[in-house]
Symmetry: C2
Subunit: 570 residues, 2 copies
Amino acid sequence: MRQSRLLIPTLREIPSDAETASHQLMLRAGLIRQLAAGIYTYLPLGYRVLRKVEQIVREEMDRAGAQELLMPALQPVELWKESGRYTVYGPELIRLTDRHDREFALGPTHEEIVTSLVRDEVNSYRKLPMTLYQIQTKFRDERRPRFGLLRGREFLMKDAYSFDMDWSGLDRSYDSMYGAYHRIFERCGMQVKAVQADAGAIGGEGGTHEFMALAEIGEDTIASCPCCDYAANLEQAECKPEGEAVTSSGSATAAFSKPELVHTPDIRTIEQLSGYLSVPAERFIKTLIYKADGREVAVLVRGDHEVNETKLRHALGAEAVELAEGLTAASVTGAPVGFAGPIGLTVPVLADYVVAAMDSAVTGANQADYHLSGVRPGHDFVPSYVGDLRNVVQGAACPACSEGRLELHRGIEIGHVFKLGTKYSEKLGASYLDAEGREQPMIMGCYGIGISRILSAVVEQKHDAQGILWPVSMAPFQVHLIPVSLKDTHQMQLADELYEQLQQAGIEVLLDDRDERPGSKFNDADLIGCPYRIVVGKQAQQGIVEFKLRSGGEVRSLKKEDVLPELRRL
Amino acid sequence: MRQSRLLIPTLREIPSDAETASHQLMLRAGLIRQLAAGIYTYLPLGYRVLRKVEQIVREEMDRAGAQELLMPALQPVELWKESGRYTVYGPELIRLTDRHDREFALGPTHEEIVTSLVRDEVNSYRKLPMTLYQIQTKFRDERRPRFGLLRGREFLMKDAYSFDMDWSGLDRSYDSMYGAYHRIFERCGMQVKAVQADAGAIGGEGGTHEFMALAEIGEDTIASCPCCDYAANLEQAECKPEGEAVTSSGSATAAFSKPELVHTPDIRTIEQLSGYLSVPAERFIKTLIYKADGREVAVLVRGDHEVNETKLRHALGAEAVELAEGLTAASVTGAPVGFAGPIGLTVPVLADYVVAAMDSAVTGANQADYHLSGVRPGHDFVPSYVGDLRNVVQGAACPACSEGRLELHRGIEIGHVFKLGTKYSEKLGASYLDAEGREQPMIMGCYGIGISRILSAVVEQKHDAQGILWPVSMAPFQVHLIPVSLKDTHQMQLADELYEQLQQAGIEVLLDDRDERPGSKFNDADLIGCPYRIVVGKQAQQGIVEFKLRSGGEVRSLKKEDVLPELRRL
């Protein structure tokens, strides 16, 4: 393609409203433009990259035996009411009414639609298993759209749905998708970790994995073990029980005196307390009041630990948990926030393993401006539940192997595979007749990939100060061919010759035929980030060009007849 | 692809809610399923066809030098207010509000978005001309969605927009798209006519053509000349003036007597009147009261002719014309509907050429139950305007050549090209600096193709009683390979061998590996309509198969080694 004919509005300045490197570079390289918050136009270069990812995804889905179809974006809300998600999904679901006042949703995902389709069209075990997928624009009214394509309100997604006769069938379908996902991300040249995750709002009874692209700006935290293949989302990562719960009877601490009141005027945080008393944070117990499905509970973690709300939700079997507001907390403890402690509470008290194993600790006194020291868990208070309630920390023991110490990384979720089981098939009535003629619910899985998000994640992983470093598989063009001076007929002739030759050979070439200064051309080429650069300069008359990899390395001189073989070799 | 693994829910029965052949066949062949009125899922076979058309369109757009991008479906309504179409577009524009109560439209077309993009990113003549296009799902809340994909509310469209420095540039851009459209429809194997059309609501100052697929179920009427290349939409087709207007002075009819009142009790239509008076319809003048931008006018056409509202609108320079309601009409004429006539009216009277040239005619008397006979146009009443105000009729003289007589056909609009001029660039401020540094508005064109609609139009043109006859370019698979019996190992072995061989050769093969009766397989194959059918039957052991074209012709026996060469030849 001739660059003079393409809309590639590169920018010199860093756009002030773009916070992340990927967002800045995608704007600066002329890949995307914002139309409204979280809503973007893909300019010609950006669209080329998007289609390459789309094609990689399609090929691997087809290879895994999935069938492509296309379902509507406009979804009758009746199906969302059948599944029960109409109310649960909240304001992220964009709703509208048609001219006859019938309500529709703009599809953020398609479990309801695909399940009703399969319910109507498939009824025999002989048609199963079946995995259907689509590559489609999705809509989700994010509360805080940001980071360019990373968290948008209109985005391109691949969503797949498997239908099996039984759970072992689902395991096979799931593994097949899991394998396809690894191939996809590998082909995109990404550093990705598959981590155990929590099923969350989408529900489902089986396992689930998230695929995380490692990046500092990621909104998720991943815990992984360098010694084994354990990896989990922070929400899900297990903490190994450390020590034993101390009980009051027969304990070596039985002889200790009672807890003592300590005056701590206006000292409300662990940090303040630690400074004031000159005691490290791991000697404190944090007491937090939560509301779980409307009911108050107290949750205890060690002073330097954090409550994991997903684990708390599972421990309570609750639909939703949230930190209680100040007034509620005060009415439970009888003291202002900052002075809560476990002793004397009438609500259920849940303690993390580590808390239950502490010999003696400082806690709040449930009294303004006072804490208690010398509190002995199991003696001075007895938790109603002891278990894993906290986030793992850097260096924690790996729950899967005996050697490893967990490492924490930030990640961008770019894919997700779920074992849904019968959640949707039962609600929407998708059943089949088995070989004996008995009606059975289909066992479902669902599998998503954020195609537009991959663009951001790849740029986040692959860039330098000058611009993007596209992998060959995703590059808008493989080769950037740059004649230094349009006025030099030798250069233009050689550039045209190479352009024709490479295009004939099926290589995608961007020919910079613009009448710009060489520095400006090189800057744009760095920004755009095609993997191979060929500069036609002073030695054009001798048939010699300069060849350079965008990813680094020295500039090499090549004879014109060696260009194609060299590209083929790479 | 193995048919047993594909979701192709064929139907034996004709779906009761499908009126047209294409709609019935697309449902029966398992290509599409309705989710809601005018909203369809493309099943795997239907989606394959859709993607083939998409690819043909893309290749021809690229060949014509257009650049592909992708704009959002969610459009801020502010841009629609800037262009002035926010109020004009009416209920077809789907509107919604986001969680922050900001209003959006779901894009039915993208003039506003693309013009604002180019306004922001292009400002020099050196970047022009430029044609941008996208292939995207569009939304239009049709009042009467029907005929399957023909008139849907969510559909796939290619829309392109050209930006030029001047009108001659626009002519070149337009011609380039016009040529690409012809190539696209030719590659889809369609019978298509390009016709002159009216710009309608989209506006624009230049020419416009519609591309019509000829089909009885089409919602449009086309007038074309068999002797020259004249072709126009009925809205637009000119009527050649016939005869001369008769004026009162110096006319040969000056000696005639005055019009006479004729008692016509409760005789209101031309048909009734013609029977009652035993006078043919072409001896009557029909008088219709219209509201043009709120102002009443009377329009006269001959009794057997019909008013063309597009021509009327242009004659009046009006934004909108509509037939007045009964009460309004009665207040203008002083008589009930059915007895209107031109004599004595105080509103402007517009007469079609043919009316003005009539010697003497019967008209309404503006008095209940009475008509007038012997009315002489130009003498008994003088029209304030005489011109072309009616629809052409079958057999009318061609306005372009002297010999031809127009033929009328029905057509499905599948493409449309417009010269927009500066309508959007001026409203949205898309200007450029010319070589002298002067600011000029860009001259725009826009170009649409209904990609999903093409599927219906092709099936409408290419089917027989048994099913669809896909052209090779659009077929979901080129070859349908059918072993007659799954139990016969010779047949299955040969079928598998051919399947592998043809796929290796890049031919798309659907292998019917289902355990069904042969009759059922053949019926499905006819319905689905792959162009080439290979049946592996009794002579499998001898390496002989049966070869048949779906479009007709005899069954031929082929040796297995001749199958690939034969397919290559075709």
